[in-house]
């Protein structure tokens, strides 16, 4: 069971395309499209949104991603009619990038609020500057690795998702080239291609374990070998 996603778009094909794209990174996540009007035209359908909310909710909640304004209004109206509105969150996020980031977070078993944060690219708690959480007299363990990206696609799409999933599994703040390695959007924005040397840094209780896991993942071509 994971948090599910609903993709609300004015266009049925956009909604289905976003579902397809996000599902590629997160096969186990329930992602339901709600695109177009009931008649198959451009617009949003309250009934489709309601049906998608039911389809996507396995009990852990649903994050809704919308395209233009009235998609948000329709989603909010559906929320007013929902039996469990507290299990539904509407993300303020770009629909494609937000859906991919949310799907990856959901696949890693993240909570409803964490999936929402991933979609909205709010840095999760672990990404706060280290000094705020540390007792300076006893610095937390830290670890560093510089890794040449040997896999075909560098840190794009699925390899990035693998990194985010791995980094998210540890009680540590993990960065790649200075950005939060638990944020799909941040990692993708780096655009790290094959052959680049990326610097991974971790701080926190499981810093060493996190870096070791990333080194293993890299040796495995980030799932692409």
């Amino acid at each position: 069971m994971t948090v599910g996603l609903v993709i609300v778009s004015h266009s049925a094909r956009i909604a289905e395309g976003v579902v397809e794209l996000a599902a590629q990174m997160a096969a186990a996540v329930e992602i339901a499209p709600a695109g177009g009007t009931d008649g198959g035209g451009i617009g949003t359908s309250f009934d489709k949104v309601q049906a998608a909310l039911t389809a996507a909710d396995s009990g852990d909640g649903v994050v809704v991603l919308c395209d233009l304004g009235s998609a948000v209004l329709t989603a909010e109206t559906a929320l007013d009619f929902a039996d469990d509105p507290e299990r539904i969150r509407i993300a303020d996020a770009p629909i494609v990038e937000g859906a991919v980031a949310a799907a990856v977070a959901a696949a890693s078993g993240a909570s409803l609020e964490q999936v929402l944060a991933a979609a909205q690219d709010q840095a999760p708690a672990a990404a706060q500057p280290a000094t705020e959480q540390q007792d300076l007299s006893a610095p937390a363990p830290s670890a560093v690795a510089e890794i040449e990206l040997a896999n075909q696609h560098g840190l794009h799409a699925r390899p990035a998702a693998e990194l985010v999933r791995t980094a998210s599994g540890f009680d540590a703040q993990v960065t790649v080239n200075g950005v939060d390695a638990k944020s799909m959007l941040r990692v993708l924005a780096l655009g790290l291609d094959r052959g680049t040397v990326a610097r991974f840094e971790a701080t926190g209780a499981q810093a060493t374990e996190a870096i070791a896991a990333i080194e293993l993942l890299a040796a495995d071509g980030f799932g692409e070998s």
């Binding site: 359908s45 233009l68 304004g69 209004l73 329709t74 109206t77």
Partner: protein, 207 residues
């Protein structure tokens, strides 16, 4: 006429459907200028769907029951921003009407106020954002000051909504698709404000 009963409410809704069917190209033309060009068709689809459901009501429905049927039908069938906005307006209006058999002037003002508040809560538009709020706001204000005759309240609301719709022309939009246009929206009337004026004008003209 003393108060507005369910039969009046039904005649009003039927008259809205007829007027929108007549003026849908005009509403769509306004929307094509600064929006996505579907406002007339969307509202027409919604109100035609409402017409098909009115016969399912009781023989003597309350105003609230008619308004609620309109709300749920518009929410499901309109397909654009107007669906949730008008749907919420009619839903809040229905809730304000409750199970009263008739609305007097005070009840009517409560219903109009609830409708406006529903739209503001749903769309989060402020006055002068160039939205239907610019018609609903003045309409509710004028209705509240019109005294205790329902006809006077309806007429005041209709006139103020029409003026409010015209007053959207020089504005820059801050909500909806028109907000992408910036100053290019200046000179165009907001289609949602115009359809609001239409709905309230038809109310004033419904006997």
């Amino acid at each position: 006429m003393s108060g507005l009963d369910g039969a009046w409410t039904r005649r009003w809704i039927e008259a809205i459907a007829a007027e929108i069917a007549t003026r849908k190209s005009e509403l769509t033309a306004l929307d094509r200028a600064i929006g996505d060009g579907d406002h007339g068709e969307n509202l027409d689809r919604g109100f035609q769907a409402v017409l098909g459901k009115l016969d399912g009501l009781d023989d003597a429905p309350t105003p609230g029951a008619v308004l609620k049927l309109v709300a749920t039908t518009l929410i499901s069938t309109v397909g654009g921003a107007a669906g949730p906005l008008y749907g919420t307006a009619f839903l809040k209006a229905a809730m304000a009407a409750g199970d009263r058999p008739e609305l007097d002037a005070t009840g009517l003002v409560e219903v109009l106020t609830a409708a406006r508040d529903g739209i503001v809560a749903r769309g989060k538009a402020e006055p002068n954002d160039k939205t239907m709020v610019d018609a609903w706001g003045p309409a509710v204000e004028a209705a509240g000051a019109a005294g205790d005759d329902v006809r006077a309240v309806l007429e005041a609301a209709a006139s103020a909504a029409a003026e409010g719709a015209i007053a959207t022309e020089p504005l820059v939009a801050h909500k909806g698709r028109a907000s992408y246009l910036g100053e290019r929206a200046i000179g165009h009337r907001d289609p949602g404000a115009e359809s609001t004026a239409l709905i309230l004008r038809v109310a004033a003209d419904t006997q």
